[in-house]
């Protein structure tokens, strides 16, 4: 496949949108994010996805006939509709001719949706795509035990009563209990919180630093809401069945955040010696986000002024049994190299906040020469991130984290903030379960 060549400083084999052909992000939108089982308790991920995509199409005033791809994702799987991207197309009155596939990359799912669409656009396979992700932690698939599941399958094949009774006799009462999904690493059995604890210990990140970072996140998010920063990024949602109460803002942001109150919380994962609390972690959240992307030429043809462009991206994968959530420290240098830029060139840096501890660990690693040499095989550290550039409107700790929706939220916020600042480059990066990391370099023309 003919990929556009990058400029001179681009290493070989990298994913980079060259200046001759760029992927434009034309519009974006998200629902307000809501605490698990709160405002959206009656909505599934599919419902949220449909709501946000429908509204994105309406607001962008795009002729749906020019859209030819939808890449969408959810992290908590749906038993009813495994290909959520297709359901989004079919459930929003969009032309059925729009191709659609779903992606999954844990907390970096909508990064993946965006980069998959970008690849497709850059190789000329598609022109205009809707990408994004949605999750509902209020609507999780509760399954049955493996023994019960096997028995039910056998029962459906059994013919005689005797056969049926025999199968039923195999089951004990315990096998009948429903099984909720676990947020544990499938290979290590370690929960995310435990991983965060492990990382905090390894990097020596204390409770105070974590609490201070959480307070920072809430304070910045609150300020952003008050200043109307999110007004064009976040739609109003009228949840059924009565449609009477409009959800207009994220409901997890603490508008009266006090540093002292974080200290009062008990550690959530290691009750005795731990430092990770509910206050300095991202909460279980319901929400959805979406972006409208196309090639730069197509945007021009259609008369759009893009919010900005995707300049490069990279993914990284590490041993999940080691330090699970270090993805950003691995993926960011790759993406920056591909963009031919350095951390210092960035006007903004946005790091997904799974845990305050995880952000602080990654920042430390980025600034560490030792880490660069030992883990990345680079002679110099990536660099220190200036606090004034980092997560300037808060992050997942305050806004919430509907897993698949977070990436598109970050990309959208960074682009709009870059525009406010008169253009420049921004880095958006996230860790993901399985030891994965994602990073994207975004640009807004000055």
């Amino acid at each position: 496949m003919a990929k556009n060549k990058g400029n001179g400083s681009t290493p070989k084999g990298g994913a980079v949108a060259s200046s001759s052909k760029r992927v434009a992000i034309v519009a974006g939108l998200r629902t307000p994010f809501a605490k698990q089982s709160s405002a959206y308790k009656n909505l599934s991920a599919q419902d949220l996805a449909r709501i946000v995509v429908k509204e994105l199409v309406e607001r962008s005033e795009i002729d749906p006939r020019v859209i030819d791809l939808c890449v969408y994702g959810q992290v908590i799987p749906s038993v009813h509709a495994p290909n959520i991207a297709r359901e989004v197309v079919l459930g929003t009155g969009l032309p059925m001719s729009i191709d659609a596939f779903s992606v999954s990359r844990a907390c970096a799912t909508s990064f993946q949706a965006l980069s998959s669409a970008a690849e497709s656009i850059l190789t000329g396979q598609n022109q205009v795509a809707i990408v994004g992700g949605a999750d509902s932690s209020s609507d999780v698939p509760i399954t049955v035990s493996q023994k019960l599941s096997h028995a039910l399958l056998d029962l459906s094949k059994a013919k005689t009563l005797q056969q049926k009774l025999k199968i039923a006799a195999r089951l004990s009462v315990r096998d009948l209990a429903p099984v909720p999904p676990a947020i544990k690493e499938a290979t290590t059995g370690e929960s995310m919180g435990e991983s965060a604890e492990k990382m905090a210990r390894a990097f020596g990140i204390g409770r105070e630093a974590q609490d201070a970072f959480a307070h920072r996140s809430h304070s910045l998010a609150s300020e952003a809401w008050k200043n109307g920063v999110f007004a064009d990024e976040v739609m109003h949602v009228l949840p059924g069945p009565d449609f009477s109460k409009a959800i207009t803002e994220d409901n997890l942001v603490r508008h009266d955040s006090q540093l002292v109150s974080y200290a009062k919380l008990k550690p959530a994962f290691d009750r005795r010696h731990g430092t990770v609390t509910a206050g300095n972690s991202s909460p279980l959240t319901d929400g959805a986000s979406a972006l409208l992307v196309m090639s730069e030429e197509r945007a021009k043809e259609l008369g759009y002024t893009p919010l900005g462009y995707l300049r490069s991206w990279a993914y990284a994968a590490i041993d999940p049994g080691d330090l699970l959530l270090m993805g950003p420290a691995y993926a960011s240098p790759k993406a920056l190299d591909r963009a031919g830029l350095t951390l210092a060139d960035m006007t903004l840096v946005d790091i997904h906040e799974a845990f305050a501890a995880q952000v602080l660990c990654n920042l430390q690693a980025m600034g560490s020469k030792k880490f660069a040499q030992e883990k990345l095989g680079r002679s110099e550290a990536l660099g220190e991130v200036d606090d004034a550039k980092l997560n300037v409107h808060g992050g997942s700790v305050a806004l919430g984290h509907p897993f698949a929706a977070t990436g598109a939220r970050m990309v959208h916020t960074v682009l709009r903030e870059l525009r406010r600042r008169g253009g420049g480059f921004g880095l958006a990066t996230a860790c993901a379960a399985g030891g994965l990391g994602a990073a994207m370099v975004l640009e807004v023309d000055r």
Binding site: E58, D63, G240, S244
Partner: protein, 719 residues
């Protein structure tokens, strides 16, 4: 394939032809030449009879299947045939002829393979076969709509239906005229099998062959059905009870205005008591009589008008523009109702309201209508979800840029509507159409400051939109032809019967309703009891009484519209002063539970007698029922004639359809114009003049009525 093709004698193109399949099944195809549907016309019975003569005589034919080459099976009798019948005796004989032709169908086992609608005579044809197999297509349905034309099924269809589903079942079909979908028909026992259309022919053929095997009889009925019928229908006492109940229920609704109802009852009653021959004889006799009743003539006239309007593109020769996106400003019951009727047609709908709460109310109403239909099994869960995907809402004008048509349904206030128009013009493309759903304000006034007055039109829907069949499209002198054509096409897509009228205060429908409601108020002010007024007018054939109607519409809304019409037309539209007192007493009708009637938990109770002291009367004035009926109804008819004379409504046809479908003018009277024709212009004129003498200018006859009476003209000169 070695197929024998047999055509009956002549070389003229025929509706009925058949081929003989190698397995001995004669495949009879119904395909009326030069028509999109099969109807039962003059030649149909003859052709069918001829075909079956040959089939019966041909030993190589084992069995037969009847199928249609059109998208429907047979949609009923040809209306022209009915209108051409010379006398009741002629109609009776024609009915008998068809019955005889159908009777010959079972000489060889014959199966009807029904895809699409099999209605009236078409259903009778299917019932005359040995068995009926239908496709599972959602469009496939059977039924006897004859009653809606003031007729009864004249080819033994009711009797055969009774054989299948009992007297009570046949009564229900005959009296309601409702369509029964394939699946339901199968479960009722009205048809024998349901299958996908792709295999319909083969399933029918196999069934026909099985029936031809020696010793095969029709399958037995379930025991429970048998027992029930035994208890109710097979003994004289049970039967008397059944018919007494059916008769009283039917009378309650029809008030004796629809003779077909009584005849359907007596034909089936005779069938139960005296058997086939007596019932068939009575049926033909009664059919002949019914064709010549004024009620049937009027109903047929409405049917013709409706059919003609389906083909009419609004009196313009321009093609309608495609409507893919529709926006509604105002998410009230009207806006949401319009949204609901559009999303089923794949039209993307945006509901804009002042705030989130307004948008939410609109969305909630659309959702409620969808859920209701899912609950009643009118819509599958999946179809409902798909439709739901076509609607969205917003409190700003986002999403309007690509919109083809914007319909405003905001409060009836000129300045507000003008402001909405200006806002919409600012955000829509130049070709976008702005339609106002005003019920009274002239469109030209709303368009006064429009930048593109040629894109402005009125689309007057009736509440509740999802139920009411009429759309009144209002054009101004500036409205472009393609805009009118587009509004008409959109209305038809939404399932409406559309009339196009010229602009003016209250257009056609609101204008003619106002004097009717006013006259009812005058009667009340004279001390006539509310229930007496309502009952008299319902007996005349109105679906609800005028006082109840005001409660439904809203006393405040009525008064507001009344002001607008009074301003425009002066004295004859002036309500009695008593109405101001009713309004001042915070009575808004059903919506605030305070009106002419009492309401409890939204349900209408008896008359609210506290209204009488408020109005300052005691409800003891006794008037002849006919005076109550005619004063109110003639006020309506007279204004309809005025609107025609003023060029608001373009034809008596449109005037009649508008009055019947939009306002509930008694259908069996055919509409105000048909009514004047039937009564005689001179007689109506004399009556109005008498009322004018007693009550003043509000009864001054329409100039056109004077004219028609003087010249002895009719609004429907062709009859």
């Amino acid at each position: 394939m070695n197929e024998t093709s047999t055509q009956t004698t002549t070389n003229e193109p025929q509706t009925v032809t058949y081929v003989l399949r190698p397995d001995g099944v004669a495949l009879i195809t119904l395909d009326a030449p030069g028509s999109s549907v099969n109807t039962i016309g003059e030649a149909f019975g003859r052709e069918l009879e001829a075909a079956f003569e040959t089939i019966a005589a041909d030993d190589t034919v084992v069995a037969a299947v009847i199928v249609s080459a059109k998208k429907d099976f047979v949609v009923g009798a040809d209306i022209d045939l009915i209108s051409s019948m010379a006398s009741p005796a002629d109609a009776r004989d024609k009915s008998k002829q068809l019955a005889t032709a159908l009777h010959g169908l079972r000489r060889k086992p014959t199966v009807a393979a029904v895809h699409g609608q099999a209605l009236g005579g078409g259903f009778e044809l299917a019932l005359a076969c040995s068995a009926i197999v239908a496709s599972d297509d959602p469009r496939t349905a059977v039924g006897f709509p004859e009653v809606q034309l003031g007729l009864l099924p004249g080819a033994n269809g009711l009797l055969r239906a009774a054989d299948r589903v009992g007297l009570a079942g046949a009564l229900d079909l005959g009296l309601t005229g409702r369509n029964v979908r394939a699946k339901k028909a199968k479960s009722m026992g009205l048809i024998d099998d349901v299958c996908p259309e792709a295999v319909l022919l083969e399933v029918a053929a196999q069934r026909a062959k099985r029936l031809a095997e020696p010793g095969k009889k029709a399958p037995k009925k379930a025991l429970s059905t048998k027992l029930e019928r035994l208890a109710l229908e097979k003994n004289p006492v049970g039967r008397a009870l059944l018919f007494k109940k059916a008769r009283s229920e039917a009378m309650k609704k029809s008030r004796g205005n629809y003779p077909a109802i009584e005849h359907i009852l007596s034909v089936l009653e005779t069938y139960g008591a005296k058997g086939w021959d007596a019932a068939a004889e009575l049926e033909a006799q009664r059919f002949g009589e019914l064709v010549f009743t004024p009620a049937s003539r009027a109903l047929v006239s409405i049917f013709r008008g409706q059919t003609a309007l389906k083909k009419d593109s609004g009196g313009t020769s321009r093609d309608p523009l495609p409507v893919e996106r529709l926006a509604l400003v105002g998410g009230g019951l009207m806006g949401a109702g319009i949204a609901f009727t559009s999303i089923g047609q794949g039209i993307d709908v945006r509901i804009k309201d002042r705030d989130d709460a307004g948008v939410g109310r609109g969305l909630a109403h659309v959702r409620k209508l969808l859920d209701q239909r899912v609950k009643r099994k009118r819509l599958s869960r999946f179809d409902a979800a798909k439709r739901w995907g076509f609607v969205s809402g917003s409190s700003d004008y986002t999403g309007f840029a690509r919109t083809d048509v914007v319909i405003e349904a905001v409060f009836e206030d000129l300045e507000l509507k003008q402001r909405v128009l200006a806002e919409v013009e600012a955000v829509t493309k130049p070709s976008a159409i702005f339609a106002s759903n005003t019920s009274s304000l002239p469109i030209a006034r709303i368009a006064e400051h429009a930048k593109r007055p040629d894109r402005v039109v009125g689309m007057h829907y009736f509440s509740p939109v999802e139920k009411m069949p009429l759309l009144e499209v209002v054009r101004t002198e500036h409205t472009a032809d393609e805009v009118v054509a587009t509004a008409v096409a959109l209305g038809k897509k939404q399932g409406k019967t559309v009339i196009v009228v010229n602009d003016g205060v209250g257009f056609y429908t609101t204008r003619i309703l106002a004097p009717y409601l006013n006259e009812a108020a005058h009667l009340l002010a004279e001390g006539v009891a509310i229930e007496v007024i309502d009952d008299a007018l319902m007996a005349w054939g109105w679906p609800v009484g005028p006082m109840q109607l005001i409660d439904e519409v809203g006393i405040d809304v009525g008064a507001h519209v009344g002001e607008i019409t009074e301003q425009a037309f002066g004295e004859r539209m002036r309500p009695p002063p008593a109405m101001a007192k009713v309004l001042a007493d915070d009575r808004k009708g059903r919506k605030n539970g305070r009106g002419f009637y009492l309401y409890e938990k939204g349900k209408r109770q008896g008359v609210d007698t506290s209204i009488y002291p408020l109005v300052g009367v005691t409800p003891d004035t006794e008037l002849e029922v006919q005076e109550i009926q005619l004063r109110a109804s003639l006020a309506f008819v007279n204004e309809a004639l005025r609107a025609f004379g003023d060029g608001i409504v373009c034809s008596p046809r449109d005037g009649d359809i508008g009055a019947v479908f939009g306002l509930g003018f008694p259908p069996f009277r055919g509409g105000p114009f048909r009514y004047v024709d039937a009564e005689g212009a001179g007689k109506v004129l004399a009556r109005l003049k008498a009322y004018e003498q007693r009550f003043g200018a509000r009864f001054t006859p329409a100039p056109i009525l004077e004219e028609y009476a003087a010249q002895g003209r009719k609004f429907y000169p062709e009859g």
